[in-house]
Structures are given as C-alpha cells and as structure tokens.
Amino acid sequence: MSGRSYRVIGTRPIRHDGADKVTGRALFGADVRLPGMAYGYVLRSPYAHARIRRIDTSRAEKHPGVLAVVTAADLPTGPDRLLDLVEGTLPLSYARANVLARDKALYKGHAVAAVAAVNRHVAEEAAGLIEVEYEPLPAVLDVLEAMRQDAPRVLEDLRMREFGELADKAGNIAEHFRHVLGDVEKGFAEADVIVEREFRTVMVHQGYLEPQSATALWNQDGRLYIWTTTQGAFSAREATAWILDLPVSQVRVTPMEVGGAFGGKIRIYLEPVAALLSRKCGRPVQITMPRRDVFEATGPTPGTFIRVKMGARADGRITAAQVWMAYETGAFPSGQCGFGALCMLAPYDIPNVLIDGYDVVVNKPSTAPYRAPGATQAAFAAESVVDELAERLGMDPIEFRLKNAAREGTRRADGLKYQRIGCVEVLEAMRDHPHYRAPLEGPNRGRGVAMGYWFNIGWYSSCTIAVNPDGTVNLVEGSVDLSGTRTTIAMQAAEVLGLRPEQVHPVVADTDSIGPTAVTGGSRTTYATGWAAWEAAHDVIRQMKQRAALLWEVEPEAVSFECGVFRSGDRSMTFAELAERLEETGGPVIGRGTVNPSSAGGSFAGAIVDVEVDPETGKVTVLRFTSVQDAGTAINPTAVEGQMQGGSVQGIGWALNEEYYWTPEGVMLNSSLLDYREPTALDVPPIETVIVEVPEPAQPFGVRGVGEANIVPPPAAIANAVYRAVGVRLRQLPMKPSALLEALWSKEA
C-alpha cells in the first residue's frame, strides 16, 4: 500500500449513481424519450466491396409513416481536414464516408441510407423499399494479401504514410513505422538461444452489452442537440460538427449513461445520420443499432499477423528483439499497430530492438480502439516467445522476466526512457503469490504467466466545485462515467476538502455546461479528471481561507486548513460552519480546476492462469486466474478490482472463443450474441486480484490509470498454460476447441 495515510482515498464507498443503476432509473442512450420523437433505421450494404451506382429512395419516401430519408448526398462535401481521433487522425472525408457511403460500400454493413418514421418497424420496412444498385467488386479480407501490389484496392486515393509523410506508394498500406534501438544484428550474434515465431489473431469486438444509440434534434433555434451513448461528449461534439460542417458551438452533446464501451464508443456512427433525418423532418430522431449492426458496422479491433524473433544469452539476458507486424484496420486507416509495438516489449530492458509495423486497410468494418488497443495482440506474440525462450534456457518464466525487467530509466522501443514504473513490483507480486506456488495436479493441466502494459495518457479535463450552505459541494465534470469514475473523482475532491464521499455531489455535464474534457479512455479519467478535481478543491480552500480571514480579521496567510477544519490562532471553524457563512462574506464560492497533464508512467499488469485441456473435445477450462496490476494509488479498490476482473475476462474470451467468422465474400457469419461467444458466468472462475501500488509521482495522489493494461496478458498467459498442460503451443487466436484438437492431432502424428 502507498505510504501516505488517507481518510477517503482507499475506501470503498457506494457509487453515487448506484441507486439509479439498480432500480432501472439510470437513463442510457435508447432510454431518451422526447415529445414527437421519430425512430430511424439504417440501410446497409450487403456486399463487402461494391460500387454504388444508384440509390432510389422514392418508394421509401412514399411509405406511410415515413418522415424522412437520407443518403450521403445529404452530407456536406467541404474541404478535407484531419479529424483528431483518439488513435491518431483521420481525414474528414473518410469519417464522412464511414457514416454514409458515397461512391463505394467498403464493408458488409457499411451504411448506405437511413429512414426516419413514426416507429422502428415502419422505418425498417421502408428501408427495405430503398433501391440500391450495387456493382460488386472483389474484396480483400486478409492483411497480408492486402499488402500485395496486385490486391484489390479498398481506398483508391490511399497512399502509405511514414511519420506523417506520404510515400509514393499507393495501395492498401495506410501506415508504416519503424522503431530502432541499438543494432539487432549485433544483438542476435551475441545470443546463445534464438526463438522466431509467427502469430495470427483475428478481429474481435469490444462486445459491450449496450448497442450504440443516438437521438438528434435539429432545433428551430438553429442548434443541434444530441443525446448519445459515447465515451466523450466533447469528441462526439467535434466529430458531429465537422462531419456536418457546423460550428462546434452550434452542437450540444448530452452524454447518457453508457452500457459498456471499452474504446468502441469514441467514434461516432449514428449522430450525423440522426441529425440529418431530424433536420429533414423537423422532429427529434432516435436511432439504436440492432445487435447485428453493432458487430458489422461499428469499430471492432484489428486482426493481425506478427512475427517475433528474440535472442538471449545463456545467463538469461535478452540481447535482441526483432518484430514484423501487420494490423488490418478495416476500411479506413487507424493506427493501432504502433500501440502494439510500444507495449509488446514494454516489460523488458532490451538494448537492441527493431520493429517494423504496418497498418493495412481491408474490406472489413473500420477498426476502433479496444481496451489497450493493439497491445493484446502484440503481447500474445511477444509473451509466447518470451515463455519459449525461458523454457529453452531452463529458467522459471517469472525469474526470466525479472532478470530482464524494465525499470525507471530503461529505454522503450520508441526511445523514451521510462519514468517511475511498477514492472518489477508486479512481477514480484506474481512470483510471491500463493497461486504461483500452489500445486497443480492432474492430467492435461498447466499454469502460464504473461505480462502486459499500457502507457496511459494525460490530456485535458475541466472541473468546477460549488460550495453549498450545508457544507456539501456540487462537483461538475465532463468525463463520461463508464464504470464509477464520478465517484473516484469525487473521492479525490473529498479527500482535499475533508469531506465524506457522499458529501460531494458529482455530475457529469453536457458540452454546454462544463469546460472541454477529453474522452473517457486511455486510462486517463481517474488520473486526469481527478487531478482537475484536486485543483478545483484547492481553489475552493484558497477562497474559503480568505472568507475565514475576513470573519476573524486576520490575513489569509494566517489561516490553515487541515482535516476539514480552518484554524487561526485558537479559533477554528469546520468546513460546514464556514460554508454557512459564505453568503455574508462575499457570496457563493466556486472553485475551478483544469489540467492538461502529459502522459504518465503507465501501468503494468500480469496474469497467472491455470488451465485444464480436454483432449477429447479441445475445450480449455480456466481453473484459476490471478490478475496483478500496478494502480499507482488505488482510489477505490473495489473499482480497481472491478477493472482488473472485467479486463481479465474479456482477455479470456479473446483467448478462447471470440472471433469474427468470415465467409470468403466478407460477410460475418456470427453477428449475434449467440454465435459471437463472449464469456458467461459459467465460463470463468473467480478472478483473484492483487493491487500493487507504485505511486505515479506526478499525480497528486499517485494515481495510475488501470482501465486497460489488465486485458493484455490473458491470451498469452493462457497459451503458455496450454503448452504446459498438453505440450502444444498455439500461435493463433482464438484457441478454440477445433484449434486445440488440430494441434493435438498434429502432435500425435
């Protein structure tokens, strides 16, 4: 535990939105009800790649109950700009084309037109009356095939970018990057053992339970009002405004409660379409995606091809690592390969590194971040190779990692030196955990470990705190609350102000009501918005000291504040007592805080997993799972544990069952929650958690974001466990029963 002692930090209060969530009162995107609201339905391409020759909406427009029909022709075309996405930038023309296809459908499910009607059934019926003339084109679905010069071209104008510069190369490669440290040739020459392997992962989905839903009202006052399920009200506002060529201030976004996101609800899909429909019919329009569309037309995560070569000396020191990796980005560019590159070797101090990475477009839905985007796939590859190296050297897998562990001052693959990090502490916690030493008996059982990392981001947040006469405070902030951050943010303010968490009333505000705040993502929210709340709380104290000074007729410098009490000499007043006197000492007190901190040191996570493989069916049962993660300082340990457990189970699903199952024509066969197999309560054991605390020096309470790193280790840990259980190393995800059986049968043969 961290050295400081706190009153509120480290406790486990009930979330402020708890009662609403357990009574069904909390309002999610599709719960919005506005007078006169119409319902929208989106018509989507049945082809993975096709030219759109003609769209005839006349029959749909005449259908009784239909209020409006729109296509890409209703979108502005304006000059192109670069839209700032979380994972990089995207040309505005691409963002527009993804929302409604213009000349080409680029993936099965690509939106082509939309209808607003008096109810969703009529809207869907009418969509069936829209006539679209497609000219099907050959589709490219495999990342390596797409890289060939003779592959079908997904985006005609796409040229490869390299550190921002457009190469002459036209094709499906959107981006190439390279990281170089030292000299890998020299490093491999020094190695006594070298392992080189190739890995494949397939597209998976964030799998949030709540489909996207957006309600738009193009109001007669000229402003566009949006209620939506989003991770970022401000990013959604900007993207919507840009796509519709509106001034940003003309759009107000009200973020609703979000039913899971994990990175998949940063991009927008429905907002501009609902807005166009609303403008045409003069009524609010709500569009909710059917589950099939969530799979086929939002932002799943890239499938990948990754080759890893690592060498080590007999004494256990890794001397070199070389990686060649290609990520499919779906129909539009998206830069996740670079993230994978940064994270895959993050736990290690390796002097010689060469990584070549490619982001490649294919005829699949445009990919979006999924919890530590790009890192899980890359770690699956790297951590499997590390495991194999350790085995060849006869070393315990954790001892091998400790011998090569990254520490403060170690250089990452991109050359940056680590600040204070908790890699060693996480490894030691794993090594010393009873799980690691527990006997595992029985046939076909094995134990595996793996590490993961996410660099966590900083970025901007705003917060205001208003003092109520009874000594409670209203805290207004702009971070959409995915999982309890309104409480972890309130706790940080409460700690500063000497209040209990329930004496802070947090509100997540819309874009008209609070200053700009970056997305809830990147593991930034408790870190950065909590920091803004800390600033605002200190601003409150500064002002209240002045009020106490006024009452006591002393200088403000003579007033102290500690443990919720203002003092000067032998006089004292509690926060509540002074709050009651604000009116007569100058009026209400409102504190404000804004931050834009640089990135923090990042969070390391580890997993220990025991599996049993059924050699008859190929089924892998996870017997025991321990998740270890560096939280810096755990503001609310219950919330941190929840993140670790949730990410771990997502990782288990990714490892064992989840996949986009494609036909050769590029149609997803399993676009339902029956056939896209997410883990149920029956599929996973209890997830034991160990919170390691290596405080992040920059943040006032030492917070490190914990949302993401925990999803990274499970696939590799499970692969390593399967190897020890049945002697086969699987190098493709998912490690589904058929894959196990094929591997076992090959081994026998």
């Binding site: 990089g88 964030q206 990175g263 999924y370 940056l416 981001i457 990135s599």
Partner: protein, 87 residues
Amino acid sequence: MPVVFIPPPLQGLTGGRASVEVEGATVRELIENLDRTWPGLRERLVEGDRLRAHIRVAVDGRISTMGLLERVGAASEVHFVAAVSGG
C-alpha cells in the same frame, strides 16, 4: 546540451544520425536550430506554428501536451513520437 532523438524515417535528413545535440530552451527553439544544420527537418515536424497533427514531443520521457511551447532543460532528452492514446 539537450539531446534530440531523430525518428528513423527522418534520419536520412541527419546523415543517418539517430540523435543529435542542439541548443534550445523550448522545443520550438530546438527545431529551429536543428533545421539550420539539417535543412528539411522543420518541415517534417512543424505545420504553421504547431507540431504536425499526428506528432507529439516527449521531453524526459513525458509526452507533452504543449508541443512547441514545451520547455527543455540543459540535460533533457527529446523524442518525437506518433500521437497515441487508448480505448
């Protein structure tokens, strides 16, 4: 003197050098001075009066949010990295 690490794609402009020492109290000054010795670097890094949209600068291991305005110490390490975030 601050040390600036040159991203591999730009090392052609610095004669293959992976890092160079250069004077400057802010990132802007560093780039100006770099460009004097290695012409063309500035154009790859800067657009108008800001760093290019997909580039961030890291000073002493911390990725800055202030771009060209970020201050640099006498012994600082400076890296230019692709903008990255999370999900």
